[in-house]
Subunit: 366 residues, 2 copies
């Protein structure tokens, strides 16, 4: 299945990123968005050309594209699909919304053609939104869920698989219901939990905030995202997210109850807390490592660095000289001081070589 022309409807972060990826692979891309500014910006970024025939033009578009990618909020996917199909805009259709059951259900209700449509969802995102945050490699190596139904035609599925391939993502075939339950537990409910933890900081004292460390920063990072965008996602996956949140709330209420009992001298309550902490470790350990397989056993070398230009260049120069591959790097800055620690993740057997080389060259390796 070759895709020569693709129409992207909705030039936000995801739509524009897909357009950029397709342009890089030589696909002709047409762009549409309700917001003329968004489509203009996407075009200026090199994401394609403006679609010449849109809503309300009963004659239909000037040409039929191979695939239309509907990149609009979940609640608008079905009506957009219906409109595009009415004017025969494309041979095949997909969408990229974060939820799948509800848009499919509405598409069926509205009488859309389900043979030419296969729903999908790239698991890629950023804390920023809009075409300005788009990048051609947003999907590189990321999972991209594909949710065919029994109505989906094989050619439609092949077209969406080709889209995923052109974007450099890994197709994961899954039913819409399984998809929605999955993202409820690995994305949507964690987001709400992060918001609830962050919400507690609104009435914390300045002294309390001054005692905040890396842990609470990590837990609450995603709570900084756009509430409007997330309301749409959560609303579209309401029942599965509710089920996960009920379980999390119950665990937290039980932990709170056990801690209250402990505070009143009931030492037997420690069992429930230990169980929750241990289940947390077990769940944490199931998350695949960054290369997609099990978490690799990297070891960390810590190096004291100055917070000024050139330090990192010199540090990585040493790694290069001794042939050590840095798998990951993390900078920890000391609040208020022009000093920090660089944590370099390397293969465990590279530790002695690298540590010795750094020390010989005057680096402080604690």
């Amino acid at each position: 299945m070759e895709l020569r022309t693709v129409l992207v409807v909705g030039t936000g972060l995801i739509g524009t990123s897909a357009a950029l990826a397709l342009r890089k692979r030589g696909v002709r891309v047409l762009l549409a968005d309700r917001d003329p500014g968004a489509v203009r910006l996407a075009r200026e970024l090199g994401a394609g050309e403006e679609w010449q025939t849109g809503e309300g033009q009963s004659e239909g578009p000037a040409e039929q594209v191979d695939l239309a990618v509907i990149a609009v909020p979940p609640a608008h996917v079905a009506s957009e699909l219906l409109e595009l199909q009415r004017i025969d805009a494309a041979r095949f259709y997909t969408d990229v919304a974060s939820v799948k059951v509800e848009p499919l259900h509405r598409a069926a209700q509205l009488g859309c053609d389900l043979a030419s449509y296969v729903a999908s969802h790239p698991l890629a995102g950023r804390e920023k939104s809009g075409p300005g945050a788009a990048r051609a490699d947003l999907f590189l190596g990321r999972p991209w869920a594909l949710c065919p139904t029994e109505d989906s035609g094989p050619e439609a599925k092949a077209a969406v698989l080709r889209l995923i391939e052109l974007c450099g993502a890994n197709a994961v075939e899954v039913s819409a219901a399984d998809h929605d339950r999955a993202v409820a537990v690995v994305s949507h409910a964690p987001h709400v939990a992060a918001s609830a933890v962050a919400a507690r900081l609104t009435d914390a004292t300045d002294v309390a905030l001054g005692l905040a460390g890396q842990g609470v920063r990590d837990v609450t990072r995603i709570a900084g995202s756009d509430p409007g965008l997330w309301l749409g996602i959560l609303s579209g996956n309401a029942a599965p997210v509710a089920a996960v949140l009920e379980a999390v709330a119950a665990d937290l209420a039980e932990a709170a109850g056990a801690l209250r009992a402990l505070a009143e001298g009931d030492g037997t309550a420690t069992g429930e807390i230990t169980q929750l902490l241990k289940r947390g470790v077990a769940g944490h350990d199931r998350i695949p490592g960054k290369h997609g397989g099990p978490a690799a056993p990297y070891s960390v070398v810590q190096v004291v660095i100055g917070d000024r230009p050139g330090q990192l260049a010199r540090l990585f120069q040493v790694c290069d000289e001794v042939g050590v591959n840095v798998e990951d790097v993390r900078l920890e800055h000391a609040p208020g001081l022009p000093l920090g620690i660089a944590e370099l993740s390397v293969q465990p057997d590279a530790i002695p070589t690298l540590s010795d080389a750094l020390r010989e060259r005057g680096w402080q390796v604690p």
Copy 2:
């Protein structure tokens, strides 16, 4: 107040790190631990010499040190303090446990001398524990809470302030009760929430885990920590942590209820969800930036890199050449592919210079 000799009781991560920091500043350090292996390892790491007189020797120690640092789990602080005071081990005493009210309360109950003792707590830690994970700069620029009571003598307070200074930390004076409420909200309750989110992953499908992105990784990172250690911390601060968890559980239960109502067609329920998401953003925005002040408005340049030696050295070499200071760096690896993105945080006005310089030298800057 000069500290010539300090006794560190408990050579785990915190105790050994403090010992290493003191040794670097020329302080004589004596080490004690119930576990002979731990104290030997700390000594071999250069943290000091073994304390010659310990428990059960009724004659008392060979010498009285200036300050004893009690670095044992919260439940054992008071009994350790009593024992050390019984043999006149030190002129002044502090502890470094993560909770403060309960150990102080028990010390008073046991009849410890409270004039020579000032409780404290360095806000520094790592996911690893034990003397092997210790480092002299663990406390550099970090907050270190100091909790004097009305019984505390001024000299004892001066001794602990000098300890904090020698370790390179920033003293934050706060009452024990305020401290415990603060760490409940910025550390202890977030930890339990992370565990409860991670616990949901234990019965998720492999497909669901395959769809996990960076968000759930961040939210659950601290859930991988040692349950035994955390049971001790949570037990020692049970009531304040319970209060925060009750509020978080109530917010999550309410969000779940609103989502259930939405799933059943009650559109008015969106208000509650939006409110929680907005409170989350407000709380998130109160966390100070990494340099201790408000979060700095760094901009991010993304560069495609290969996952092999030398790439980062060359990348930072370019930053160095054009005089751009990299404030932070984050590597995003594409699962299953030998490619990744380096995200360089720099001052916003350095973006054009750096992007142009990188592109000129053939780097892919999306």
